[in-house]
Symmetry: C2
Subunit: 536 residues, 2 copies
Amino acid sequence: MSELEGLSLISFDRGATSARTFRGVNPATGEALEPPYHPAAPADVERACRLADEASLSYGRSAPAARAGLLRGIAEGLEGEGGAIVARAQAETGLPQARLQSELARTCHQLRLFAGVAEDASWVDARIDSADPERKPLPRPDVRSMRVPLGPVAVFGASNFPLAFSVAGGDAASALAAGNPILVKAHAAHPGTSEAVGRIVQAAVRSRGLPEGTFALLFDDGFGVGQELVQHPLVRAVGFTGSRSGGLALLRLAQARTVPIPVYAEMGSVNPVWVLPGALRERAAAIAEGLHASFTLGVGQFCTNPGVVILEAGPAGEALVQPLAERTRATACGVLLNAGIHAGYDRGLERLRRLGGRLLAQGAAPQGDRQQGVMGSATLWQAEAAQVLAEPGLLDEVFGPSTLVVCYRSPEELEGLWLALPGQLTASIHALPEELAAHAPLLERIARRAGRLLFNQFPTGVEVNHAMVHGGPFPATSDGRSTSVGTRAIERFSRLLAFQSFPQQALPPELQDANPRGLWRLVDGAYTRGALPVKP
Amino acid sequence: MSELEGLSLISFDRGATSARTFRGVNPATGEALEPPYHPAAPADVERACRLADEASLSYGRSAPAARAGLLRGIAEGLEGEGGAIVARAQAETGLPQARLQSELARTCHQLRLFAGVAEDASWVDARIDSADPERKPLPRPDVRSMRVPLGPVAVFGASNFPLAFSVAGGDAASALAAGNPILVKAHAAHPGTSEAVGRIVQAAVRSRGLPEGTFALLFDDGFGVGQELVQHPLVRAVGFTGSRSGGLALLRLAQARTVPIPVYAEMGSVNPVWVLPGALRERAAAIAEGLHASFTLGVGQFCTNPGVVILEAGPAGEALVQPLAERTRATACGVLLNAGIHAGYDRGLERLRRLGGRLLAQGAAPQGDRQQGVMGSATLWQAEAAQVLAEPGLLDEVFGPSTLVVCYRSPEELEGLWLALPGQLTASIHALPEELAAHAPLLERIARRAGRLLFNQFPTGVEVNHAMVHGGPFPATSDGRSTSVGTRAIERFSRLLAFQSFPQQALPPELQDANPRGLWRLVDGAYTRGALPVKP
């Protein structure tokens, strides 16, 4: 990794220096890290947007192999400098080395998965309905259509995934795979990691002869640069992972534009876990172990953290709550990502307390020299369903290593609880198979409120594959129709475009008779990977 | 057709009567038509929404064959009462019998096309990534996902397509095919047609044993019922075809909800037609003939009406403009859809005049007893590109039989014109094939601004097939990613849902190993229509 410079990356160049600077801070020690970072100036943002718009035409029609090569090149670059990147990310985020190494591997897997999808190119959903000059009363025209890129996409780095949801993370990979230039707003909490990754992306774009505006990285420790990006007329879509307040602010800006644009904001949720009586009877200790591991994983800083556990009130529940409380008490104190997350966690716990949550157990408190850093202790809370139904604020997300056990005393309370929960990324059901069947109608209602349903598993750990859905109804996301993890994410940075009666040579290759790219296409209503028959 | 009653259709029943009523009006004569129509009361809307929500669970998991049967049953019902429906629609809209007969045929074709898509069910994009218990460091879970319905969809009938974009039109067909109950707000200008069609839908739902809340039809001649629908917490999406002001009003209401919902508003555009010099030289008279037919078709009342024609200034253009003016002068006066459309057309012409457009030619004026009706004369206008660039209001849609020829004097003016045009449903290029190639960069810019590009054809006449895209960037639509015509419209009334590690019997049939519905599915990254291999 070459020395960090603290400047935005625009074109194959650096952004301007600025009077004001900010630094990454090691959350474990409070130490400010070198170098100082220069927030991008409005002129930097303007230049980056103009270059991205210029790049969008040529990058948008780049061959699938070129996009795939770019994504694989980034993955190789990340692996080549993996040690240094992980070390810097460790210093900036307090995340453990092993976690960051696996996040790096996940990021590279993700880039290669999208490279494969870009290369195969069937995702463009090419369709051809051929002409019929003999049709009466009017001849039938030739109509062909496919998905095309949207244009420059603003991508916001997330604090809790400095690699997998940041500069070369999921939104970046899917937007690039779909043929869109990206303008990344680095998260202010890990600027060095962002710069190191950004240089790899920049070099990969350059070495493949792709247009200079394909990628830009912009720094800022305030809201200005992000707002300018979302409001810029040349920006065509937004990808964001973070807090609800941040996501909603961007959504409102995008809606208020002269030309509104799609915002894909993943804003987190409480990911309810419902443990049914049979499962409780047979596996209470194992469920307690799994739940504890899930809600304290990464010091609880996952969007899929299980923040609410739903149980029938009574002695059976104690078989789960007791070992869960013991494990919580035995949990070491963890370094939180940054001071903002720390303050938010404290506010969340204070809210639980104020709204009547009962603290059942607390993990180890920070000790000795670790008090310099921003640390979080695990906490386990309990409330009655009746309390929660009277005060739904108890169901708001607390970002950190905390979970709330909610006990219901009747089927009505149980149903009421599910109805009180807003849209969720996930909902987990722990049950015996026969219990699942017995609760089918309620399960259908639950399915309406979530993007992913889990059976006898825990929500943390989001596989990156073709089938994954990491989305869910508002307010888990701002657009519950799609996903930010998994290969379907490529579709959200695209729109449909049709060509009517165009000559072959003026059509994109995806729509030409010969099918030079060998795509799956829907031709006159049937899927085929072949060429169109030559007309006599 | 049984006698019309003037009441909303809710459940298998009628809505309440109300003190205030309104009537359809024959635009050709000004005659008020029987019966009086009762606007739905807030209690009617509430009841319809509750029933739709209840229906959404069971209708949402209905078998593909059941949905296909419903859509085909509606088509049969429409054909069975086609004569009476066409006669009523003629009286309410002034559209000619032949046009309405072909619109009825198109509506039935559309219903059957979506029936086929629903029946095949591959549109759900089922995906399976199978488990790997041996994966290190963690076992890989089984993840399966598919598109699922959104829930109750509010559909707004359009004034200009009393059949194909109304009660059993495109939005209704695609929303029902995707498994969503529909709540149709009838357009106030053709209530009798709406009731007649609504009864057929209601009977088809009932005779197939589908839940009573699958369909409701609500009348109103104001904005109240539409606003209540879009704001109702149980409504999950909106489909609309109409004016920009109407579409934007609904969009703003939907964005301001506690839980925002998708709005698919098709708001029209001016559908620019660019005639290049070579085409002008070789085919000016034929292009004039085609253009005239297109901009006066249906008295100009199509969203795809060509409202702007772009030509190089100079004598070559005269070869097109002269015959176009002659044909315009020879155009008979036509009955407009209703008094609102008539007033809007007059306002649009007044705006063209005020902003400096030059009236080149005008068709026949209303005469004799036809003065009782609302009539529109064809008009042909001209402006210089420089005028248009100084006053882009000249590019706003005039809904009616009117088109504006804009003459450019330099490549810069030409490019400026295209940049001044906002998002369009269509853009048509008349050119020799070699001219297309020579203008490739500008064509790419044009493609960014449109949903459908046509070569040497005219934009009116939207084929209903698999490849059609009837959409386009804002403000042509409120959501430029999708289409309101063609089978891809089924996707917009759906979202993604994943199941992780679920037992077979608790999965929807689409995701079960055995693939009982024989869908195309993406299984571990490869498309197959088969079952999953049985595990040893």
